[in-house]
């Protein structure tokens, strides 16, 4: 069983490029296919894994591992999903210094860097549009970005303030309703 867990998450870790939500359909197919849990249970787990900090794919693998075989299962699943990217990135890190001295690679990266920044800007815009930020709520991402970018505030404080702000807002709205 541990071996199956390890192999399953190793496979998921190795074949999902781009990380995070790209892994979701494969995880779902494997987990539901193995009969480890039904569709509804999986969607519940997904919702919780999403609201936790850290890499989403890791969270969900730990959740599923724990569900099936408690703490050892959680640890085995975690290692299974981490190992492929660990091995790949470590090999790249080991040889990257030699790579960057290669003028071809450097040429490619010169163009890749601004393109990568664009690949970060797009999900920012997509998420903003999906949330339909209106009025005062629009100020939250604006102020967060300016604080981090221009004033050097740690994202940790921004995250804590945003969470606290959400709780205070909820408490106030509830008091009003009463």
């Amino acid at each position: 069983m541990y071996w199956t867990l390890f192999l399953t998450f190793f496979k998921i870790g190795a074949f999902t490029i781009g990380g995070g939500y790209a892994m979701l359909p494969l995880i779902q197919r494997e987990v539901v296919g193995h009969g480890w849990m039904d569709e509804k249970e999986f969607i519940d787990l997904f919702a919780v894994a999403q609201s936790l900090p850290g890499a989403f794919a890791i969270n969900i693998s730990i959740f599923i591992g724990y569900r099936l075989r408690k703490i050892p299962g959680a640890i085995v699943s975690m290692f299974g999903s981490v190992l492929p990217s660990f091995v790949i990135i470590l090999s790249i890190a080991l040889f990257f210094t030699q790579f960057t001295e290669n003028s071809w690679v450097e040429k490619a990266f010169k163009a890749l860097r601004p393109a990568t920044v664009a690949l970060i800007a797009v999900p920012c815009l997509v998420t903003a549009m999906k949330l339909k930020l209106k009025g005062a709520v629009f100020l939250i991402p604006l102020i967060s970005a300016v604080l981090i970018w221009l004033f050097g505030v740690s994202p940790v404080y921004v995250i804590l303030a945003a969470a606290l702000g959400g709780i205070l807002y909820d408490l106030r709205m509830n008091r009003r309703l009463k």
Binding site: G13, A14, T16, I17, G18, G19, A47, V48, S51, P53, G54, A55, F56, A57, I58, N59, Y66, R67, S85, I88, I89, L90, I92, A93, L94, F96, K107, A108, F109, K110, A111, L112, R113, P114, A115, T116, A118, L119, I120, A121, V122, P123, C124, T127, L131, L133, I140, P141, A145, I148, W149, S154, V156, V158, I159, A162, L164, G166, D170, L171
Partner: protein, 182 residues
């Protein structure tokens, strides 16, 4: 010393990395590039680019890469660099492990918890700001070296946003363009 710093920083990244990979970038960048100078802004962008093409979450990829590079740049051997890699990667996963174990005990309660839901009223819009900050922090002279960089940025942005070109394809095309124009 450097091992302890790596562990501490990546544990923190794992603990406060809300909102998915892109939202975590500003946090990773602030720590690994600005505060500890483990990698340059350029190297960091390269890690993000490589992460788009390789399997696995960006948080794990950056931990593995930075863990190795930080130890190596501090003047230690390859083997010690590999240990740095292991330590940072384990550290970034540990908060997830603790939290999942904690929540699994009563996870129905966690799901319906009013404060958790309320916190996300603020966290969700802030995520957009976190991603924006990551992009803005990378818009520097190390990554944008000339007017061609700006053109590539605009082209890549339009391709992925308007024409829904897959990020991997965007990256492949950008690399080819780089080989031709530079």
């Amino acid at each position: 010393m450097i091992y302890w710093q790596l562990f501490f920083v990546y544990f923190k990244i794992g603990l406060f990395g809300f909102g998915g990979g892109y939202a975590m970038l500003s946090l990773i960048q602030r720590e690994a590039v600005d505060n500890y100078h483990w990698v340059t802004s350029q190297e960091f962008t390269d890690i993000v680019a490589v992460s788009q093409m390789t399997p696995g979450p960006i948080a794990i990829n950056s931990a593995t890469y930075v863990g190795f590079t930080a130890v190596q740049n501090a003047g230690y051997s390859h083997t010690m660099g590999i240990w740095g890699s292991v330590i940072a990667t384990v550290a970034v996963c540990l908060p997830s492990l603790f939290l999942v174990l904690l929540i699994s005990v009563s996870y129905a309660k966690f799901r319906s918890n009013r404060y958790v839901a309320a916190a996300f009223l603020g966290l969700r819009p802030a995520t957009v700001g976190l991603i924006a900050a990551a992009a803005l922090m990378l818009m520097n002279s190390e990554n944008f070296i000339d007017y061609k960089s700006i053109l590539i940025f605009i082209a890549a942005f339009m391709a992925t946003w308007k024409f829904k070109v897959h990020p991997i394809l965007t990256i492949l095309i950008a690399s080819l363009v780089g080989l031709i124009i530079y």
